[in-house]
């Protein structure tokens, strides 16, 4: 069974003459363990697609099934559960809580779960160690470099232990070296069985993925295999 199944997904913003069509009848299926990059120029609708896949936004038309469940009809509370247990995000702008420590940021998705403080600590420490940022655990994230911040964001996605990781231009704010390191981490997560979907306009980033979906004007233009198989 497909993990992500989009059927004729459309998304419109605004009303009447101010309507903007971001997505036009997208059909897309993604299976467990896939590593997909979604490419397209600015305004092509790739971020809107990621938002819909990530249950951050809802489609105007069409059906979105996540692990067999039609999520287009779910309410905020149920969508938040999905965002907490099934999907993790890695953003270009890191999406970290300022004035909170590295530890607290990584633990954020675990706050919502029914697990003890001890378990949270063990899990967070494990991933901080794995990413080589254990020595930063008590440091305020606002004092970290871009590369360190992105590692914290990856650690948070790993600690959440979700099936899907969505990354929106994850290397956008990083230098070449840190960008490459990040992509290696995403590859590593994919090898561990996670389904990774990356939004990018960078061919180099796309080259790390196993499948490349190109979007132009809200429609899928091509869906091809990536370099990394």
């Amino acid at each position: 069974m497909a993990l992500i199944e989009l059927e004729k997904i459309s998304k419109k913003y605004g009303k009447d003459e101010y309507t903007t069509v971001a997505l036009k009848g997208i059909d897309l299926t993604v299976h467990n363990g896939e590593f997909v990059s979604i490419m397209g120029p600015s305004g092509s609708g790739k971020s809107t697609l990621l938002n819909i896949i990530g249950c951050v936004d809802v489609p105007t038309e069409g059906i979105y099934r996540l692990d067999g469940i039609n999520v287009t009809t779910l309410r905020d509370k149920e969508l938040s559960q999905i965002r907490n247990r099934t999907i993790s995000f890695v953003f270009q702008h890191f999406a970290l809580m300022h004035n909170f420590t590295v530890f607290e940021n990584v633990a954020l998705p675990l706050f919502k779960r029914d697990i003890s403080k001890k378990e949270i600590k063990e899990k967070v420490d494990y991933y901080l160690e794995k990413l080589g940022i254990a020595d930063l655990r008590k440091k305020n994230v606002s004092k970290l470099s871009g590369g360190q911040k992105q590692r914290v964001a990856i650690a948070r996605a790993m600690a959440a232990e979700t099936d899907i990781v969505l990354a929106d231009e994850p290397t956008g704010a990083l230098d070449q070296e840190n960008g490459a390191r990040l992509m290696e981490l995403l590859c590593q997560m994919n090898e561990e069985g996670k389904c990774i979907i990356v939004i990018t306009h960078d061919e180099k980033v796309a080259s790390y993925t196993k499948r490349i979906v190109r979007i132009v004007d809200g429609q899928i233009q091509s869906d091809t295999k990536g370099e990394r198989q």
Partner: protein, 432 residues
């Protein structure tokens, strides 16, 4: 809920605006609390008056003399007026009480008496005055008609006890705390009067008062807290104490009452006494206890309404401030909320977090407001005890809590509506 930690952290982050709002809220709660105390104190005072004494709202009349003084001239005229009042057929009883202090001497256990007072007065303004105790002198009618206290040993005072001369042995009741200092039949001496007319009076203990016996304050029978008679003496007036000097008459005037057979007689009695007063050249004023209490309460209510109005005004201004600061904080924290929501927080969690913040801010301010109010009252005990402290009960705290909850809910409505309208898509598109 682990989001509570985020709520507290957010409060700390916005410390200056939170501090200013808290300050405003503390002042508001202080004002509101002040008004609530005043209302409660009025109720407490009235309840105290009628639970401690058998005074009747309409049949008991308070006699005052606005032009009364401590001259011989006035004392003579007032005595004539008293004789006239007692002669009126409508009068069931007439008399006064006076609260003062005496130094008992020449009795077997005076050392134990002083030790007891040392314990009783420790930490009070009387701690250096362990040789003396309070004493309340009564006229027979006041004692007979209005007092409720009883003895646990010996006997109560009788009519004959109130007809003693200065040289007679004066019967006395002693408070419960002195039950093992004095035995029934013990005698002690104490001075009465002053200067050349100073005399030594002999008292004889005839009864021990029940624990917790109370009587109205000599300072103000309604406004001031009642005296606990456990470390007091109770005795009948004798001539020197009642009439000895013009000042004794003037002092008695604070607590002089008339008891009527029927409340319908008040108007006629008032006219008659005022007419007699005019003949004597003095100006008696009569008011039923109900009217006296009402006049005080009315006066107090006016200032109370003013305090309530100011408190409410402050509260409304603060409420607007809390709402606007909370709304702008939501706008400023959109990114933070976005991060929380993409990691699994629902709008309900964010709303809960916001209410926690308001609860913390308003709750703490309410508690500080009550504490400030309490400290103000404690430092305002110029008479040794502030009756307003009696108002600090769970009932008051409950009312403050209800007001605080109302403010929390009211100030949360618009911000929560703002959270409901948040679009997660817009939040995650935000940048640091």
């Amino acid at each position: 809920m682990k989001y509570t930690r985020i709520a507290f952290s957010s409060i700390v982050k916005r410390k200056l605006s939170i501090l200013l709002m808290a300050l405003q809220l503390v002042v508001s709660f202080w004002m509101i609390n002040h008004a609530l105390i005043t209302i409660d104190t009025l109720n407490y005072q009235e309840k105290q008056l009628f639970s401690i004494s058998k005074m009747d709202e309409y049949k008991t009349v308070k006699l005052t003399m606005p032009d009364g003084d401590d001259t011989q001239w006035f004392a003579e005229r007032f005595r004539q007026l008293e004789t006239y009042i007692k002669s009126l057929p409508e009068i069931q009883g007439y008399g006064s009480f006076n609260t003062t202090s005496i130094v008992p001497q020449d009795f077997p256990k005076w050392q134990k008496y002083q030790q007891r007072n040392k314990q009783l007065y420790a930490g009070t303004r009387r701690e250096d005055d362990i040789e003396s105790s309070g004493i309340i002198y009564f006229d027979y009618d006041i004692y007979r008609l209005f007092t409720k206290f009883v003895v646990i040993k010996g006997r109560m005072l009788e009519e004959a006890d109130f007809q003693k001369e200065n040289n007679d042995v004066i019967p006395v009741l002693v408070g419960y705390d002195y039950r093992d200092v004095f035995r029934i039949g013990d005698r002690f001496k104490a001075e009465a009067g002053a200067g050349e007319k100073n005399i030594k009076v002999t008292y004889e203990v005839v009864g021990i008062l029940e624990k917790g016996s109370r009587w109205l304050s000599g300072n103000d029978y309604f406004v001031s807290p009642a005296d606990n008679l456990d470390h007091f003496f109770v005795a009948p007036f004798f001539p020197e104490q009642r009439e000895g000097r013009p000042i004794s008459v003037a002092v008695r005037l604070h607590n002089t009452f008339i008891q009527l057979h029927s409340e319908k007689q008040f108007k006629d009695v008032k006219v008659a006494i005022m007419k007699k007063g005019k003949e004597l050249g003095i100006s008696p004023v009569l008011q039923t206890v109900r009217k006296d209490v009402d006049a005080y309460q009315e006066n107090t209510r006016k200032s109370n309404h003013y305090a309530l109005a100011i408190g409410t005004f402050f509260l409304i201004v603060t409420l607007i401030g809390v709402i606007s600061v909370t709304i702008s904080s939501i706008r400023a924290r959109k990114y933070e909320f976005g991060v929380m929501m993409v990691t699994g927080a629902s709008k309900r969690d964010i709303s809960f977090m916001l209410i926690m913040e308001l609860f913390f801010l308003i709750g703490i301010s309410a508690v500080i407001g009550v504490i400030v109010s309490y400290l103000t009252e404690v430092n305002n005990d110029f008479l040794g005890y502030n009756i307003r402290l009696e108002a600090f009960t769970w009932w008051l705290y409950g009312k403050v809590a209800i007001i605080a909850i109302f403010i929390i809910l009211f100030s949360a409505i618009i911000p929560l509506w703002n959270i409901k309208k948040l679009e997660l898509r817009e939040l995650v598109e935000g940048r640091e």
